[in-house]
Each structure stands twice: as structure tokens, then as C-alpha cells.
């Protein structure tokens, strides 16, 4: 076996390995150089015909050469794989800004989002959520709430009546308070509930009023409930919903179904109380009404007002959404213009 023959095989292998431009070419070269029918393998087969001494030397030389060639191929393989990967990745190049938009996600209505957020705050405070019918009888909407027929306080609610039963016996609820009555009737104290829902007034809708609107009320009835608990609950809600630095205050007001009654205001979320357009430069935004449940209301549902006390509160979901998101016309909420809905 000639050294020059081996050298020739080696040089050939190096040259052809470098010559190979693709992994496929390299594999062909590799097979032709190291495979069973390669000259190198032929040399191997010839080893058997050599004398034992010669065979040992020749075998070692042959194996060394084979190892060196394998090393060359391995290196070349590595180079070509890198190159191949680069080429492939380059071919797959994608401009992410040219991607066509797929179907747009849907949006939950702002009223829903606001209502859900409010429910979650109160659920977190240990309340349940109660619901009831939107068509009510006069008794649930007024009488049981300490507003007897022809009471002047009825002028506080412009009521839509239905052509159903006796005239003015059936109506679209003007507030969610009838649900309070239903909850007190059906489960009795202790009660910790909020009542969200759709309400109606006989008034022309404008930027700040809707004939069809949404409200959430709360009712707590338990042993030893005080006005201080009411104020504390309003404050806790205010902190949870608007943020820890926004506070609340109560001012005397009048509702037939609560006494003492109050309106509650929260610090303006836009100016932190400094005074701005949204809060009419008062630093406060009026949110809703509240008070201690009137003993006559307890009387209507058969709860002993000496044993139990309670408070109730309520405010507009739509108005809250308007304040929080700073839009100027409540009517957007029922128009369902996608240009409005998309923003939330």
C-alpha cells in the first residue's frame, strides 16, 4: 500500500468535501469516500493480504487517515448545516406588519363591563347578587317602599304604566328597589345583596338622562346595622372601585324608603378634588342615594324593625360609566355604534 495512494485519497476527500455546496452533495461525497465501495474501503480489504507486521502499521495508517477524513467531513457538515439553516430561514422571512387582520374580537358592552366590575367589588365584600323582573306591580315598586298611592313623593319618579290589569297597577320598575322587597320576602335577614338591573322612567332621553337606564342597589339587613356601617360600606366601595385615594361623603337627602336618607358623593377622579369641568368645580361627583331602611319598609315585608336594622344604597351604572370614561352623552349606550363599543 503506497503512502502516496493514501495521500491521494485524503487530498481528494478534502478537496471534494470543500467542493460540496449542499448537505446532499456532501452526503454523496462522504459515501463515495468512506462507503463500502470507496477506494479507502478497498484498501481496507487489501489489508488481509499483508503480512501481520505490515498489516498492523498499514492498518493504523489507514485508520488514522479515515479518522482525519471523517473529521473533515464532520467539520464541513457543520458548516453546510449552518449555511443551509441560514438559507432556509432567509427564505421564510415574514414581514409581521404585512399580516392581514383576522376577524376582530367581540366586545362586551360598556354597561356590562361596568356592571360586572361593580358586582365583583361587592361580591368581594361578601355580597350576593339578586335580580328581579323589570315589569312590576305598584305594590313592589311603590307601596312596599313606603310610597303610598297619590303620595307627593311619587312625583320623584315619572312612571311608565302598562296596559295590564287595573289602570296604573302594572308598571315598568322605576328603580331596582322592588328587588330589595323580593329578596326580603324570599330569604329574610341577614341579607347582604346588590341588585343590578334595567329601569325605566317616563322622561325624554337626553345627554344626561335615559328613559331606559341601569342601576345597581345594595341592601344590608342584619343585627346591629348602623348608619356608620352604611358610611363605611360606601367608603369601602369607593376605595375599591375608584382607588384608595378617592373618598366618599354623605349628605342628607330624602327618599321615602330610607331614613335617615343621604346622597353620596365621591371625590372627583379627574382632579382629585381640586375642581374641574367634570365635577363642576366642586371636587365632588354625586353618585347616588342611600340611607337606613325605613321601618315602614320592614313592616311591609314582615321584618321586625326593632330586632333588625339595615341600609340600602343605589346609583346609576350608566352614569358611573359616563363619569369614569368621560364621555358626554348617555345615549351612546343604547345606540350600539361600533365606533363607540370598540373603545371598551
Amino acid at each position: 500500500m503506497e503512502a502516496s495512494e493514501l495521500q491521494q485519497i485524503y487530498d481528494d476527500a478534502v478537496f471534494r468535501a470543500l467542493e460540496a455546496r449542499t448537505l446532499g452533495e456532501l452526503r454523496v461525497v462522504e459515501s463515495e469516500t468512506l462507503g463500502k465501495r470507496s477506494p479507502l474501503s478497498a484498501l481496507h480489504q487489501r489489508l488481509g493480504s499483508l503480512a501481520p507486521d505490515e498489516r498492523r502499521d498499514a492498518g493504523r495508517t489507514l485508520n488514522e487517515t479515515r479518522a482525519r477524513i471523517e473529521g473533515i467531513f464532520a467539520r464541513r457538515l457543520g458548516e453546510l448545516e449552518v449555511e443551509e439553516r441560514r438559507r432556509q430561514l432567509n427564505d421564510e422571512r415574514l414581514d409581521l406588519t404585512e399580516v392581514l387582520r383576522g376577524p376582530e374580537r367581540g366586545h362586551l358592552h360598556l354597561v356590562t363591563q361596568t356592571r360586572d366590575a361593580l358586582e365583583d367589588v361587592f361580591v368581594g365584600m361578601g355580597f350576593g347578587v339578586a335580580e328581579g323582573p323589570e315589569v312590576e306591580t305598584d305594590w313592589y315598586n311603590f307601596e312596599a317602599l313606603n310610597i303610598p298611592p297619590a303620595h307627593p313623593a311619587r312625583s320623584l319618579w315619572d312612571t311608565l304604566y302598562l296596559k295590564w290589569g287595573e289602570p296604573e297597577s302594572t308598571l315598568l320598575r322605576t328603580h331596582t328597589s322592588p328587588v330589595q322587597i323580593r329578596v326580603m320576602q324570599s330569604q329574610g335577614p341577614p341579607i347582604y345583596s346588590v341588585m343590578p338591573g334595567r329601569c325605566y322612567r317616563q322622561e325624554t332621553s337626553d345627554a344626561r338622562h335615559l328613559a331606559v337606564f341601569h342601576q345597581i342597589e345594595g341592601l344590608v339587613v342584619d343585627h346591629g346595622i348602623t348608619f356608620g356601617h352604611l358610611a363605611g360600606t360606601i367608603e369601602a366601595f369607593t376605595n375599591a372601585y375608584f382607588g384608595a385615594k378617592i373618598h366618599s361623603r354623605l349628605r342628607p337627602s330624602y327618599y321615602p324608603f330610607t331614613e335617615p336618607s343621604a346622597d353620596f358623593e365621591v371625590g372627583c377622579i379627574f382632579c382629585d378634588g381640586a375642581g374641574c369641568r367634570v365635577c363642576s368645580h366642586t371636587g365632588w361627583i354625586e353618585l347616588g342615594g342611600c340611607g337606613m331602611v325605613h321601618p315602614n319598609v320592614f313592616g311591609a315585608v314582615g321584618i321586625d324593625a326593632e330586632e333588625w336594622t339595615g341600609f340600602a344604597f343605589g346609583f346609576g351604572i350608566d352614569r358611573l360609566a359616563m363619569i369614569r370614561h368621560d364621555f358626554d352623552d348617555l345615549r351612546y349606550l343604547l345606540t350600539n355604534d361600533v365606533r363607540f363599543l370598540r373603545q371598551f
Binding site: D222, F227, S253
Partner: protein, 779 residues
């Protein structure tokens, strides 16, 4: 209610900063909606006497006016009003003066110099009158500041929002009583004297309806000279928002504003029979012409004030009549000061749609014991105008109802409020506002409710007074002892899930109005079982929706008209249907509807499938059906829940929708109550599955759902997944035939299926479908 600080000071020495007074009013629940500072609006404006007027040489609608403004020289101004002449006193804003809206400079108007401006009431913010220059009454030296001439001292007006339970706060004195107590200053109503009540012309009064009018008084005032009111009185009325008319009417209004007691002056000499008769309206109805020249129809529930011959001259407690109103010639006034039943006034006022300053006070309840004081105040003010009281007060009243004092327990006060007040402290809050509190033992008070607080008659009412005067903000806040876990109901949680899934599926949530126009249902092809509103604001909102379809179609149309076609909307809302006529209320349901503009029935079905999957519903059959308002050949009924498909093209045309609308509407309560797949684990096989594809040619009349069901039955336990993946129609299949291609995945929990088992299952499926549906396997 507009109350000025200076007027309040007639009753209490309030020397506080106006801002502090406003805070005190707010804290009492007499909410200050606006606070106006008067007198600052016309700094620099002076009284000027018009000396001469002449035409503007270059403008028809302007004139040149020379005035004496108290200085050495005449002042020329250009003016656009012509309602005054030489000798009149007018307000002049000289150069340099600041009006609410502008600062006055010397300038040329159409070539003539104007050295200031003559002002209208509106420009000075003292009236709404834009039409002419304010011509000032009386005799004032030119050059005197306008504020001084009008008797306007620097003053502050609080515009109060008075709640319906506070009739007392519809008077200056009532507001003063409350705020004086809050500010800790004394309060007193002066004792007005009825001057010279010595004559003998007592008023003739008969009251036939004492239930409607429990107290009626009248007094005759003679030697009346009707003329404009003195400046101070006119100013107070103007400040309070009332227009001065003449001294008699003005004094009447003044007494109402100050003491809260409406009253009515008649021209005694124009009252037939020289007296008054109070009676109910006639049962058959009769007509009264009120002061506003409107002829009003009244009945037997209404209280009428009539002349002595029975002819109505006014509606008691609401509005007087035109026939006997005070005229320039009036010399003798008969003053009515009465107390009407609150509920009766509320009824009449509501029925007539007539709300007046008087009715607002009477329906909330005036003080029946305040009548003498109001009469005395009226007489004393008119006496200052030269009138004399001609006789004694005629007082016709029903028996006075004795009022029992209210027992107020100190412990109860603190239990309701969460305070630790002593009995003495409670008394200290009550006494200054006229709730005379007498201790009963150490831990209770007997409280006499003042007659001016008809809203107050129980312990809790008194507790509210204590709370107001203690101060709501001084009550310690704490959390209630809630001892339970808050949670949504399963229904509420699932409903949120429905919303989230639909939004994720690209459907937008809408909230449409509950009201429909009368023809909306017919246009939508829906039955007319709707409930109507008895008193709708407009006809377009007079019917309650029975379906969410009309509202969502309108929303689609609205968006399409704003270049937003193809909107996908859903809504969850209540609908109402006339159920059993004797039911207490109509039937009410919560529905879910999906409307896919630009999408067809298939698109609606795909959304439904996602929703049904998300709710883990057990499979529900969808059966082709013709349903109201929906496309007759592309609609089905979802077993027990509602309808799915597409909106009828005729309905779309009626609403002006120019796209297809894929649609489903289901009863949400039933949807969420429908059976769900069990939540327990279903074992997953460790062994490989075998997929086979089968395509069948079947008639169009054969529902794919039926083929699917057959496959499921035939596949049995081994069939773990089944999916329709292709529907093909072509001439080679024959007329009225189509190909349905299914992929079946077969799998067993305990073994790898053998080729024979798979082949056998395949055969079973093919045989079943071919025999059940006249189907052919496609090669």
C-alpha cells in the same frame, strides 16, 4: 328655592363667610346648587338721567343718547333700544366699567362716539329682559351707583335644591331656622303686628269642603293703592326669582317666600256677593278660567274657591282665577290664607298638570298654625304702603287634630346611627329647630313635632333630624359584620361565560332599548302578543319588545348607515309577552340573541356550536322549521331553547338591511338549565386510534344531522370522534343529491384495534347509513 343671605339675616345674625354658610346648608341636606354673589356684577355702573335722544345719522336701528351721569359734562352714548325718553333714569356703564360679559371702552359705532353703554336687565344679570334698557323706578340722583339705587347691597344668593319632605325649607324663615341651628346662632321670627285691626268689615266666608280645606281664613284690607312695590321689596322678589308686579301681588308673594305660606289676594269689590265660598267641584265637572287664561276642567275631588254666589274664582291652593285678580283700580283687598289637604292638592295638581309655587308648598304641607303670622306679615307690609286693616280675621277651621309627642329613645338613636350621643346632646340638636324635647327618665325624650314639619311623625323621623344636626360626616365609619362568602349564582356565572365566549367568537355585545314602535313587530314578521305602555312619551316607544330581533336589526341598520356593514351583535335582555290575561304581570323572559350581519345561517350555526361547546351542553337537535320572522328554508328549531338560522329576506327589506343576517335567539334561562355533559373525567386511550373517511351520496331531503346520528349509533363505543368535513354538490352526483364526507376516529381504551375490527366497524357504518338514508358510499 333661591334664598339670599341678607334675607336670612332678618331671622338670624349670620355673620359667617358665605362659603361656610353654603357648607352648612349642604350638610343639612339643603343642597346649594349654585351660589351667586350679587352686586359684583355691575361694579362701576351708575344711574344716569336721559337728557336728549336723537337719530343716529348713519343707522336706523341706533340712536344717540345724551345723559347726565352726575358729572360736569353730558355723556353721549350710542344705543340700540328705543324704550325710554328724556327724563328717564337708566343704568349707564361708563368707560372703564366691567359688566359680567364685557369691559366698556370708548369706541366709535357707525361713525359716532359712544362713551359707555346703557344696559338692559339681562346685561346686568338682574332679569331676563333683553328687549330694552332697564328703566329705573323712583327718583335717584344721577351718578349714584346702580347697586345703591336698586338697594342691592353686596349679597349672596343660595340656590337650594329642597327635597319634597321639607316644606319648611321652601321659606326663607325655615331655611334660616335650620342653618342658624347648624351654625349655632339664635333664630327668631319677629312678631308682626296687624296694624289698626279695629274696623268692622269682616270677610264673609263659607267653607263647604272642610276635608279638602281644613282651615280657611280671610281678612279685608282697605285703602289700598295699587302701585309698584318699593325698591327693596321688588329687589328681594327679583333676587328670589319672581317678577315684581304691583305692591299687593308682590306682598302676597313676599309673604309666601318668606314664611312659606301661600295666600291669595282678591279684589273684594269684584267678588260677587262680597265674600268667598269654598266647595268641591261639581260631580259632573265644571270649568274654571285660571289666572293664566286657561280654561280648566275640574271635578268633585277638587277644591274650588268661589265668590259668595258660587261662581268659581280659583282652584284652591293651586291657582287663582282671572275674574277677581288685583287690578290698578283695586281699593279693597280680601286676603285668603288657607290650609289645604296635602293629598288633595297633589291629586288635583297632578290631574290638571298644573304645578305652581302654591301647589308645591301645599302638597308638601304648609304650617296650619302659621296662618296668623302670615296674615299679620301681609297686613303690616301693605300697611307700610298706606293700607288699613278693615276688620277681624275670619277663621273657619275643622277641629284641630291633637298631635302626640314622639318618644325618642337614646339607645335607639345610637343603634340606628352608630353614635354614642347622650340624651342631653340629642335634646341639644332638637330644641333649636323647634322639636321641643322633654326628657322622660334618663334615656328617652318626648319630642313635640313642630307644626311646620308634617313629614315628621315618628321616632325615626326625629332620629334623622338628630343625624342632620349632628352631621353625617361626624358618624364613625365601619364595615358591617358581614359573615358570609359573597358569590354570583351559577346562573350569573354562566351568563358571564356566555358573554365572554360570544365576544371571543367575534360577536359584539349590544344593549338595545326595551321599547318598540307599534309596527316594529309586524315588520319583523312577529306575532302581535306585545304588551303596550299606557302612557308612552312617544309612539315609537309604546310597545314592549317580545323579541330582541327588531332592536338588533335597528342597530345593524344604524351601523350600516355609518359605513359599518357586517357587524356581529349579540344581546342578552328581557322581553315581555302578554301571557294569561289574569296574571299579575305579563310573561317576562331573559333571552339571548345573536345577529350576524353579512353572515348566513351557517355562520350563526358555527357561533352556536362554539357556545354549546363552551357550555358543555349535551348534544341538542336542530330541526328545520318555518319560524316567525326567519328565512323559511334556512331556519331550524333548537330543541326546547329557541330558533336558529337566518332572518327572512322580507323582514330585512322592511328594516332596510342590505346584507344577510345570520341569527339565533334562545331562552337564556332554559339554555343555562339545559343538560350539560358530566364534569367527571373521561378516560383517554393509551392505544393508537384509526381514522377512516366515509363519503355518502344522499338526497338533499336527508339532514346531515340524521346521517351523523346513524353513524354514531352504528359506530358504537369505538367511535370516539366524528366530524363532517366536506359537503359537495355536482352534476355527477345526480339531481337533488349531495355528498357528505365524514371523518371517523376509532379507538379502544384497552387495545390497539386490529385491521379486522376497523374493517368491521367501517362496514357496519356504511351498511347502516346506506340502508337508513338511501345513501351510496362514494368511492
Amino acid at each position: 328655592m333661591r334664598v339670599s343671605l341678607s334675607w336670612l339675616r332678618d331671622f338670624a345674625p349670620i355673620e359667617h363667610d358665605p362659603a361656610d354658610v353654603a357648607t352648612a346648608l349642604d350638610d343639612l341636606g339643603l343642597v346649594v346648587e349654585a351660589m351667586e354673589r350679587l352686586g359684583e356684577d355691575f361694579a362701576g355702573v351708575v344711574v344716569a338721567r336721559v337728557l336728549e335722544t336723537r337719530p343716529h345719522p348713519n343707522a336706523d336701528k341706533l340712536q344717540l343718547v345724551e345723559v347726565d351721569a352726575g358729572g360736569d359734562e353730558r355723556v353721549q352714548v350710542v344705543c340700540g333700544a328705543f324704550n325710554f325718553g328724556p327724563g328717564d333714569l337708566v343704568p349707564l356703564a361708563p368707560v372703564g366699567a366691567r359688566l359680567p360679559e364685557l369691559e366698556i371702552t370708548r369706541r366709535q359705532i357707525r361713525g359716532e362716539w359712544s362713551n359707555g353703554m346703557l344696559c338692559s336687565g339681562a346685561e346686568l344679570h338682574i332679569s331676563d329682559d333683553h328687549a330694552g334698557i332697564l328703566v329705573l323706578p323712583g327718583d335717584v340722583e344721577p351718578g349714584v351707583p346702580l347697586a345703591e339705587a336698586l338697594g342691592v347691597q353686596a349679597d349672596v344668593v343660595f340656590d337650594l335644591d329642597v327635597s319634597p319632605n321639607r316644606p319648611d325649607a321652601l321659606s326663607v324663615a325655615g331655611v334660616a331656622r335650620d342653618v342658624a341651628a347648624k351654625l349655632g346662632v339664635p333664630f327668631a321670627v319677629p312678631d308682626y303686628e296687624v296694624p289698626g285691626a279695629g274696623g268692622s268689615t269682616d270677610a264673609l266666608v263659607k267653607v263647604r269642603s272642610r276635608d279638602l280645606c281644613p282651615r280657611f281664613t280671610a281678612i279685608v284690607v282697605a285703602d289700598v293703592e295699587v302701585r309698584p312695590s318699593p325698591g327693596w321689596l321688588a329687589t328681594r322678589l327679583t333676587t328670589a326669582g319672581m317678577r315684581p308686579i304691583n305692591n299687593v301681588v308682590d306682598v302676597s308673594n313676599y309673604v309666601m317666600l318668606e314664611l312659606g305660606h301661600p295666600n291669595h289676594p282678591y279684589d273684594l269689590d269684584r267678588l260677587a256677593g262680597g265674600g268667598l265660598l269654598v266647595r268641591r267641584g261639581r260631580a259632573g265637572g265644571e270649568t274654571v278660567v285660571t289666572l293664566d287664561d286657561v280654561s280648566r276642567s275640574v271635578g268633585s275631588d277638587d277644591c274650588l274657591i268661589c265668590d259668595a254666589e258660587g261662581t268659581p274664582v280659583g282652584i284652591g291652593g293651586i291657582l287663582g282665577g282671572a275674574a277677581s285678580e288685583i287690578a290698578d283700580t283695586t281699593a279693597r283687598v280680601l286676603l285668603e290664607t288657607a290650609y289645604f289637604d296635602r293629598m288633595a292638592i297633589a291629586r288635583t295638581s297632578k290631574r290638571l298638570g298644573l304645578r305652581t309655587e302654591a301647589s308645591a308648598r301645599f302638597e308638601r304641607g304648609v304650617d296650619p298654625e302659621g296662618i296668623e303670622r302670615a296674615v299679620a306679615r301681609f297686613c303690616s307690609l301693605l300697611a307700610a304702603e298706606g293700607a288699613t286693616v278693615a276688620g277681624a280675621l275670619t277663621d273657619v277651621r275643622a277641629r284641630r287634630r291633637a298631635t302626640k309627642p314622639v318618644r325618642v329613645r337614646t339607645a335607639r338613636v345610637n343603634a340606628v346611627l352608630g353614635t354614642a350621643l347622650t340624651t342631653d346632646e340629642i335634646k341639644g340638636y332638637l330644641d333649636p329647630i323647634g322639636f321641643a324635647a322633654r326628657p322622660v327618665g334618663r334615656s328617652a325624650l318626648n319630642v313635640a313635632i313642630p307644626t311646620w314639619r308634617p313629614d315628621s311623625d315618628s321616632e325615626i323621623d326625629v332620629i334623622e333630624e338628630v343625624a342632620r344636626h349632628h352631621g353625617y360626616s361626624r358618624v364613625d365609619r365601619s364595615m358591617p359584620p358581614v359573615n358570609r362568602v359573597g358569590a354570583l349564582t351559577a346562573y350569573q356565572r354562566d351568563r358571564r361565560r356566555v358573554r365572554d365566549v360570544l365576544a371571543g367568537a367575534g360577536v359584539w355585545e349590544a344593549w338595545t332599548t326595551t321599547f318598540l314602535a307599534p309596527d316594529d313587530l309586524a315588520r319583523a314578521g312577529l306575532p302581535a302578543d306585545a304588551v303596550e305602555v299606557a302612557n308612552p312619551l312617544v309612539a315609537e316607544e309604546s310597545v314592549l319588545r317580545t323579541s330582541l330581533l327588531p332592536g338588533l336589526l335597528k342597530a345593524i341598520v344604524y351601523n350600516a348607515s355609518h359605513q359599518n356593514g357586517g357587524v356581529h351583535l349579540f344581546e342578552i335582555g328581557h322581553v315581555f309577552r302578554a301571557g294569561a290575561a289574569d296574571a299579575e304581570r305579563p310573561d317576562e323572559y331573559e333571552l339571548l340573541a345573536v345577529a350576524l350581519a353579512g353572515g348566513d345561517a351557517a355562520a350563526a350555526k358555527r357561533v352556536w356550536d362554539v357556545l354549546a361547546d363552551a357550555l358543555r351542553l349535551e348534544p341538542l337537535s336542530v330541526t328545520g322549521a318555518e319560524l316567525a320572522g326567519l328565512h323559511p328554508t334556512r331556519t331550524g328549531r333548537i330543541e326546547g331553547l329557541g330558533a336558529i338560522g337566518e332572518v327572512d329576506p322580507g323582514v330585512l327589506a322592511a328594516y332596510g338591511v342590505e346584507e344577510r343576517v345570520g341569527w339565533f335567539e334562545v331562552d337564556l334561562e332554559r339554555l343555562l338549565a339545559a343538560s350539560r355533559q358530566p364534569e367527571t373525567y373521561n378516560p383517554v386511550s393509551r392505544f393508537p386510534s384509526a381514522d377512516i373517511d366515509l363519503a355518502f351520496v344522499v338526497d338533499h331531503a336527508v339532514p346531515a344531522g340524521a346521517v351523523e346520528q346513524t353513524l354514531r349509533d352504528a359506530g358504537g363505543e369505538l367511535l370516539v370522534e366524528l366530524r363532517l368535513f366536506d359537503v359537495f354538490r355536482g352534476p355527477q352526483l345526480g339531481d337533488g343529491r349531495r355528498s357528505l364526507a365524514y371523518r371517523l376516529r376509532l379507538n379502544a381504551l384497552d387495545r390497539t384495534l386490529t385491521d379486522d375490527e376497523v374493517a368491521e366497524a367501517r362496514r357496519r357504518c356504511i351498511d347502516a347509513v346506506e340502508s337508513a338514508h338511501r345513501a351510496q358510499l362514494r368511492a
